[in-house]
Structure formats: structure tokens, C-alpha cells
Symmetry: C3
Subunit: 160 residues, 3 copies
């Protein structure tokens, strides 16, 4: 079992003005890798609050998925909050999501998503729209179990 926290970043969602469809979609998709959502919160796009929640859930769960706040609007600060709490960046995860996204829409290049490791927890930013969340998770889902094994200290070699 892979334990997961989902943080939905949305000013409107946190005020109850918009239903969060992405959260439910993520929960359903995670079943394919035996992922179980243990914590789920909808937060406004406040960098200090996002950072504190990322820190709170690190080491409590194997994986933190954020959704939203990765674009260019002035309130989009999820990548900055993430960069400030991770110990080690995993740039290839975000690159792969954008690279695959570019095959569908040029706007994929505007996702500023980052991914990285804090302690023993993998943190991955996903975009806000349910469609983009699904497409992005499809790209990376297969490697998540292996990534988490490594983060937890498995020392067998990847290339063997």
C-alpha cells in the first residue's frame, strides 16, 4: 500500500465556490498502484499555508500530490511552496508530464509543476483541471511505486 495526501490548491474551492473534481479523480486513479488517500484538503493559494501542509504531511505519507496553482496567474504559487520544502528535486517527473502534454496542447509548456523529495516522501505538483490531472498522472503513475521504494531506502540498482 502506498499512502497518499492530496492537497487541492484553489481559492474558489477553499471558499466552497467550486466543487473539487480533481481530488476524486486522483483517488480513483491511485487504485492502480494500490495507493490510498489518507489525507485530503482543499486550501487557498497561500504559499505559507501550502508549505506548512507539505511539511506536515511529509514523512506521514509516501506521496503528496498537489493539484492546482501551477500556472502563471499571480496567485499560482504551488511550485514555489514546493521548491522551498523539498530536499532534492526530481526534474524529470515534471519534464515528462510537460513533454507528453505538449503532444496534445502547446499550453502544456505553461505548467510550472515541480516534483521532489522531502525526507521519505515524494511530492508531485499536478495542474488544476481534471482533464490535465488525469493526463499528467497517466504519464507518471507507472514509476511512482519504484520511486517510493527507492526513497524509502531500497538499494538494489535500477539498471540491473
Amino acid at each position: 500500500m502506498i499512502t497518499v495526501a492530496v492537497l487541492t490548491l484553489s481559492d474558489k474551492g477553499s471558499r466552497g465556490e467550486r466543487e473539487d473534481i480533481s481530488g476524486a479523480s486522483i483517488e480513483e486513479m491511485l487504485k492502480s498502484i494500490d495507493g490510498v488517500v489518507k489525507h485530503y484538503e482543499i486550501l487557498p493559494d497561500e504559499k505559507a499555508l501550502i508549505k506548512s501542509k507539505l511539511i506536515e504531511y511529509s514523512d506521514k505519507v509516501d506521496l503528496i500530490l498537489t493539484t492546482g496553482g501551477t500556472g502563471l496567474s499571480p496567485r499560482d504559487v504551488t511550485p514555489e511552496a514546493t521548491l522551498e520544502v523539498i530536499d532534492r528535486e526530481v526534474p524529470g517527473i515534471a519534464e515528462a508530464m510537460r513533454f507528453e502534454g505538449l503532444k496534445k496542447t502547446k499550453r502544456a509548456m505553461l505548467s510550472r509543476a515541480v516534483a521532489g523529495v522531502r525526507g521519505r516522501t515524494l511530492i508531485i505538483n499536478l495542474p488544476g483541471s481534471p482533464k490535465a490531472v488525469k493526463e499528467n498522472l497517466d504519464v507518471i503513475m507507472d514509476v511512482i511505486p519504484h520511486a517510493i521504494e527507492k526513497i524509502k531506502g531500497d538499494t538494489t540498482e535500477c539498471g540491473r
Copy 2:
């Protein structure tokens, strides 16, 4: 209308020893997105000077395009100057330019271009050669108007 500042980084160009073809080429290409060059300067590859000009034109124009200084020569410091003044990086823009460039030449991987947002202004580094400038702008031109709308505070969702 999208207002634009173009900064050409070239030691030789700033001394008048080389004509700047890239600047004129950029101006012509921007017409397709109703972009109008309001400021245009040729500067030597001096990091402090580049930074001060990027700061000066931020919030005055919607878009700052730099050309030159993105390579590996000791004097190439445009990416470093840009990284030091942006608030938020947009890594996918530079990735997309390199990724498309790789289809034509392996040397595309040596462009150290970065892109990001300072205040309400999008800043994008382009290479120095007129051919590479055209190829790189072709990759990203379509998403620039959308990116600028977002930066200015449009809160409608991308994925809808």
C-alpha cells in the same frame, strides 16, 4: 496589443561591430500576436547591466525578449541575470524550445535559455543567431498571448 521590450545581448553588437539582425526579425514575427516593440536595446554581456535593464522594463511592458548570451562562452550570462530577477520560473517554455530544437540539431541542448515572470511581465531568453531566434519563437509564439493574460490576472481556468 502586447507591449514588448527586446534586449539584444552582444559584446560585438554593443560596440557597433556587428549588425543586429535578430532584433528586426523578432519585431516582424511579433506582428502575428499583435506584439509591438516599445523598447529596443543592444547591450554588452554584463550581468549587472542586463539585470538592471530587465528590472527597468518589467511592469512597463508585457513581454521582455532577450536574444544572445545563452551559450557556454565565459561571457554568456543572460540566463544567470534572468534567474536573479524573476519571481517565478516557467521551465516548460525553455524546455519546449530546446526539445523542438533537438529535432534539428543536437546543439540545441546547449542553449541555457530560461523563462520566467517578474511582476506582471513575462521574460523569455532566446539564443543569439537569427535562425535559432526564429525557430525558437515559432515554438512558443502561440502560447504567449495566453500566458500574458494569465500573468495579468485573468482567473478563468486553462483546462476548461
Copy 3:
């Protein structure tokens, strides 16, 4: 002639518990660009030690290739050591290796390799497995001589 230092990062290798095949493989491949390995060391995955060796060999050789320590295991710190000693990052080199790697295996997105310049020396992280080392070097080998010429101060233009 291109002078090269190869640093193999491996806790097991540094204790003599595992033969380093990647080092020999790199030496053979470098012949195609007239590269000669002048220094070769096997080091444990200790960030401070890796940094001191990267600093020691910078300006002594044209190219430092590291192998290993780019994954997600807690001991993998080669990218962090590299980021702390380079003056200027060359993100496209690592992107190109991952991008080509993704065509073969999704796990390629988990390589956290970075590349950059310290003084007059190009530093490139490679993965640890001999197979991945070969595949990654194949992607970038052709551009290394040009990159090194530029780093050394050749001011002719790439795009001409």
C-alpha cells in the same frame, strides 16, 4: 585532446564490494571524441567529499563525468553536490539524456542528473548502471567537443 576526470559514486564500489564497470566503459567511449581519462576515482556517496573532488578537478581537466548517485535513494546526492559547485547550469544536457531515455524506459524520468560549468570545466552527471551510462553518453557525446571549445572562450557563433 579533451582531458577528462571520471568520478564513480558508489558506497559499495568505494569499499571494494562492487567492480566499477561504468568507469571502463566511459573511457572506451570517450575515444570517439579524443577524450583521455587523466583522473579516475571511486568515491562513497558523501556530498562534502564529492564537492571537494569536483572543485579539485575543475580547471585541471576539460570535462568531469560523474557516474552514480543520481537516483532517489537517500544516499543519492551527486546532483546536489554538483549544483553547489557549478557557476552556470546547462539544463538541456540533462533534459536531452532523460528525453531520449524515456523512449526506452519510463524510469528515465527518475534520473536527477544535472550538468553545468565550473570555471573552464564542463561537469556532467551520468547514472550508475553501465547500460544507462552508455545510452546517456551516446545522446550527448557529439556536442561535448563543441561545448568545451565554447567554455574555453571560442567566440565564433554557434548558429553561423
